[in-house]
């Protein structure tokens, strides 16, 4: 029988105390309903069964997590030279302006060229777009927040969602008013900066009828994180005919276990696009999901993951077609090398009554060496017989014939391999805003440029 290392049981040790959660709420001056939500979530977390279908994670220590929560600034680097060498090297390869690199590395708390972004902030303000830290929104727009908070992704969904709700802190709240179309992609990082750095940040994006926004979370340059466990969440509510694109590029240091809970609800005629580029971390679990609740709504999900070395990427997409004539399209590309592991988990479900719906899922995985693994676990669940659904996936290895061909045209092996990898990823890069695509390309070169193997 194939060796599947699902043998260890995930152990959760330590405890999150009720008083800690109450204290968190008190310090943030939250309304009662929020405090109650936290406590109910904590209760659920304690009762819920530990999921055993996540391979490769053995232990999560809550005491460690909560101690870091309380004292987040312990052991931060003070000087450029204090940064780990591998991170400094990558910044150099990416040719980042020093000020930016320092900011990312956490050495400065204010971005020197912040003035550039004041113009964009102004633009948003004039449109009536609300973009403020989540905690501020809870206090400033309580009714608006209460209407949507935890409605897209309930804490009862799974154990770590509940943990998230008990401890959430940071994140951004975005509200785009009716008929407002935000012309430029908005990068969360530069607006709420530190707020996006939390272990349990919660972002909520509400797009009112006929509005449009492209939101970018994270960045492709490596980020040094002290804590080892991240359990963030993104909720998106796309009202009728609105269009929301949510782009995540994640490149965290190699000690992170990263849970990313993402879900959207799309109303009639709305479109939600998820784009996910996952480069860093030790273990990432993320399944951007969309519930197509309104007739004619649609969603796309483009996921790219890189697992190099002992890295595990457990990514995928979930789409629930809950209304007629809804469409979805999922594209997943993963590259594994050096003993990396890539897992794709997908669900396409067509509920009864979702007539005339169509879905197409395409996954491709590129394995670069014998030590690595790639697994695909799709589920197609059809409760109505009037739907057109297809899922196709293939796992390929580096085509030596292609490499030979490119080398015969004068390229070194490493250059040939780089070119092939770019070709493989091209569909995903197309979806990223230009600067990100450029950054991603540089990151790929940095990661795989030296990957030549023999020859």
């Amino acid at each position: 029988m194939p060796e599947v290392s699902y043998r260890h049981r995930l152990e959760i040790t330590g405890k999150v105390s009720r008083s800690l959660v109450e204290e968190i709420s008190r310090v943030k001056k939250e309304p009662e309903w929020m405090r109650n939500l936290r406590l109910r979530a904590l209760e659920f977390f304690e009762k819920a069964r530990t999921p055993q279908w996540l391979p490769f994670i053995e232990k999560i220590d809550l005491d460690e997590i909560t101690s870091l929560y309380v004292k987040p600034d312990v052991e931060k680097a003070e000087k450029w030279e204090d940064l780990p060498e591998e991170i400094r090297k990558i910044y150099e390869k990416l040719k980042l302006p020093e000020s930016y690199a320092k900011y990312l590395a956490g050495l400065t708390s204010v971005l020197d060229s912040e003035s550039v972004f004041i113009g964009v902030k102004d633009y948003l303000r004039k449109l009536g777009v609300v973009m403020i830290p989540m905690e501020e929104a809870v206090v400033k727009y309580p009714d608006l927040v209460r209407e949507y908070f935890s409605r897209v992704f309930p804490y009862t969904d799974h154990k770590f969602a509940a943990l998230h709700y008990a401890l959430w802190s940071g994140g951004v709240f975005v509200y785009v008013p009716r008929n407002v179309k935000v012309a430029y992609p908005v990068e969360a990082f530069f607006f709420v900066g530190r707020e996006m750095e939390g272990q349990f940040e919660h972002s909520l994006i509400v797009a009112d009828e006929n509005s449009e926004i492209v939101f970018i979370e994270g960045c492709s340059a490596p980020r040094l994180r002290r804590e080892s466990f991240h359990d963030g969440m993104v909720e998106i509510y796309a009202h009728k005919a609105s269009k929301v694109s949510f782009i995540t590029v994640q490149n965290w240091s190699r000690n992170i276990i990263n849970f990313n809970n993402k879900r959207a609800i799309a109303e009639e005629g709305a479109t939600v696009d998820w784009v996910e580029g996952s480069i860093g971390s030790k273990f990432t679990v993320t399944y951007p999901s969309t519930v197509l609740r309104g007739e004619g709504s649609s969603t796309t999900s483009t996921v790219m993951s890189i697992s190099r070395g002992g890295v595990v990427k457990d990514t995928g997409s979930k789409v629930i077609h809950a209304a007629p004539r809804t469409t979805s399209r999922v594209t997943s590309k993963s590259i594994v090398a050096d003993g990396g592991v890539s897992i794709y988990r997908g669900l396409v479900q067509v509920n009864k009554g979702a007539k005339g719906s169509a879905s197409y899922v395409e996954c491709e995985s590129l394995i670069l060496d014998e030590k690595s693994q790639s697994h695909t676990y799709p589920i197609v669940h059809l409760l109505d017989d009037d739907a057109s659904v297809g899922h196709e996936a293939s796992t390929v290895k580096l085509d030596e014939d292609q490499v030979f061909y490119l080398m015969s045209r004068g390229l070194r092996r490493s250059e040939a391999v780089s070119l092939i990898i770019h070709g493989f990823i091209r569909d995903v890069l197309k979806k990223l805003p230009f600067e990100f695509a450029v950054m991603m390309t540089r990151v790929l070169d940095a990661e795989f440029g030296e990957y030549g193997g023999v020859g």
């Binding site: 194939p2 693994q373 799709p378 197609v380 059809l382 409760l383 009037d386 739907a387 796992t395």
Partner: protein, 340 residues
Amino acid sequence: MSIEGDFIGDSPTIRRYIEPREYLKDVEESRREGLAGKGVTVAGGVVSGGAGSTWQPPGCFSIYCQVHKTLNPETLVVDAGPDTHTRVDIDVGEGLLPLNLVLNLPDPNLRVVEFNVKGGGLLSAWVRIRGGSGRRLVLKLNLPEGRASYIGVSEECKGCSGERAVILESSRTLRVEEFIRVESSSFRGKNIAVAENGSKLDWETRGVAAGDSPLLHLHGLAVGAGGSTTALRGVVAVDKNSRRGSVVYGLDSIQLDGRSLMQPKLEVYTSEVKEARHYARNVRFTADQLFYLSSRGLSTREAYVLLLTGLAKTGVEDPGVSFLLEDVFRQILLKLGLPG
């Protein structure tokens, strides 16, 4: 049963349709009815008792299989005769019939083996197919309405090649498990499952491709009629030490009337693979396709038979197997409620 604790862990989605606990209840009830029915008779072959056989189903990973072992199944060996056709009548009566069946195929000739189940009792059976290189088999299984039942099929092909088509017609809750291990050889399998009369079918496959240049191509087709639920799922893995493997695991499902679940998992443990892909598609015949066939003189019903038979033959290489498969499948279709 103490087995429960460890094994009731199947996916919540599947358990919504076939709950293992219900099966355990069925086993208890039918046991009380006693071992009834006339057992097994064979036409076109020879059946003998496999006394002292200690064969265990490979990879007993489910509660159904664990329960099967505790039922002390009788082992029978069926040697397929010289003719193409062998029929095995299994009379379950109204009780319980636990069975381990070894099917011996003596030569590479094309064979049709038909398992005809009679009675509404509970059948818990493992079928172990043994044969030499180049064997070609069309296996037909028919289960009328009755208690939930369990059938396991295993195929071992070390250094030999084969092609097999299974056509299953079921009107009862049925759990099918399939185990195929290919080592440095090739195996093509086509599984067609027709679920009728509001029945539920859960077919789980475990496949492994190992060794040098293994070929494992599995294609499944689920036809759900009369409000049935079909679940086709499984794992096919490319072994870490295999070289130049070619693995295809594809599932098609057509819902004439009913629900469908497909979950083809693919695990690849090495980069030394020639081809590794899978797909899950549901089939809908478009208005344009139906119009085209109609413009050639076919009624809607005739068009459906043509299209479904085409789907049935997809993935089948051997023309002999394809021809017989088409014939058997067509007979089933004619009884089914097709549109038009």
